[in-house]
Symmetry: C2
Subunit: 282 residues, 2 copies
């Protein structure tokens, strides 16, 4: 994600410095022209910067904000992050020294591959990029953040951190937990009967993909969004119970009438927001 | 599915007759050499056949078996179906006239597109094809069914109908209900805040795909497999509750230790059964 940011900001920035603890990553980034300079020294990397973008797991970003980075930055530096939950990070940004211009960020994109080798300049193009105001977001900081998002050719969407976290709990964190619980359920059946694994096909492949996500990253996300995720879990259980009641009572008519609009909602969403991409169920 | 069967059996069968109520489908199938003859008259289509394959939604197949087809077939005809649940159909096969050789079938494959235009000779190649014995499966019938599956270049897997239905409840019907309940949950949030739809991305796309499935087909499947689906729903709820308890009690360590093996199980399954296909989470 950070490498793709650097590539996409090539024309926007005079000089790009990458900060990474891993030497192989740093060497790769410089040799491939992804960044101009690379260092493992956070202070050296950010102290002269006009704009600093934090690309790391959520709890790493929150810790950087709470422990160190505020004292390293010049006044008027624009500080943005791209962490997947925003309340924790925006609270930490609120405690930064006055003069630092901090805005919470979350680009709604991702690549299937991660790592510096997967960097792509067009990763953000046309995708939503959420910006969340903090107590350190001046009107000027907001405009600078908007201009940066537009340089990525992303679509800026401004909202409060709390609203963001509720939305992503619904569309991202709840789906992850469902995928993990499905794999746990299927896995137990698979221990009793290997045919379970053997017969699983495309439906299971799609529904289990998120369970293969990076565990540390997802752990960070879930633990910084517990309340919204618990709320969405409760709402989900209600919807699942409704379907189950119709199924068990053999109320086929009602079940079909409930399932049709869900099918429509899914197809409409694909049409409106996934550029009408056809993944089969059209 | 039926068109693909016909294409794949081109060398296996001397003559292939397609039976379909839709004239456009029949014309297309004949003009494109998918079948030799086509008719909308079930009796005429099957009465001289050596092998009859029923490709229709589950309840349509069960009804054909119960109402009509037994009296149309010659003795010693091999009758196979490709319905997605097997107990109902195999029970109906058991009541066929003695002399008819009936075997339940379920190929674990599918195309994203349906309809006669989507017919593909290689649809079944390398995929599991479940065969379920019935009271009308003689040893000779079993061998004929195995030979037919091998002609499709599919992998025959023999099991009792009850075991089949339990397995597919886990890997297919439960995932469908989860997908539908997720879309219901997200849809309600989306009514309150359009940002929900706007920000939804790849994770939601994968997890919602099954909710876009054909409702009549899924309704048939669920209503003929209610008990196994209810069992799997109960097991799923337990797994989800375990994850939720760790999350709410902020037991990050335990949560991560639970999520890691689920990630591994998913990656191992992809490696073993999806030919190591890489869909990103490797």
């Amino acid at each position: 994600m950070g490498g793709s940011l650097a590539l996409a900001l090539r024309d926007y920035a005079d000089t790009i410095t990458g900060v990474d603890a891993d030497e192989v990553t740093r060497t790769y980034a410089v040799e491939h022209g992804i960044v101009d300079y690379a260092t493992d020294d956070l202070r050296a990397g950010v102290s002269e910067a006009d704009v600093v973008i934090l690309a790391a797991p959520v709890r790493v970003i929150a810790e950087m904000l709470r422990r160190r980075i505020g004292s390293y930055l010049r006044s008027n530096t624009l500080l943005i992050d791209i962490g997947s939950t925003k309340q924790d990070i925006c609270s930490a940004m609120a405690e930064l020294p006055i003069g630092i211009q901090a805005v919470g960020g979350h680009p709604m994109t991702g690549k299937e591959q991660s790592g510096i080798e997967a960097s792509a300049a067009d990763l953000y193009r046309g995708r939503p990029f959420v910006l969340c105001p903090t107590r350190r977001t001046t009107p000027a900081a907001r405009l600078r953040a908007l201009s940066l998002v537009r340089a990525l050719e992303a679509v800026p969407i401004e909202m409060e951190a709390e609203r963001h976290d509720h939305v992503v709990a619904a569309i991202s964190h709840l789906p992850y937990l469902l995928s993990a619980a499905l794999v746990a359920t299927v896995g137990r059946e698979g221990q009793k009967d290997d045919a379970v694994w053997q017969l699983a096909a495309g439906g299971f492949r799609d529904m289990s993909r998120l369970a293969g996500s990076d565990v540390q990253m997802m752990g960070d996300i879930l633990s910084t969004n517990t309340q919204a995720v618990a709320t969405l879990l409760a709402l989900f259980r209600m919807q699942l119970a409704l379907l189950e009641a119709m199924l068990i009572s053999r109320d086929d008519q009602n079940l079909a009438e409930t399932l049709y609009p869900l099918r429509e909602a899914r197809l409409n969403w694909m049409e409106r927001y996934m550029n009408g991409a056809n993944d089969g169920n059209k």
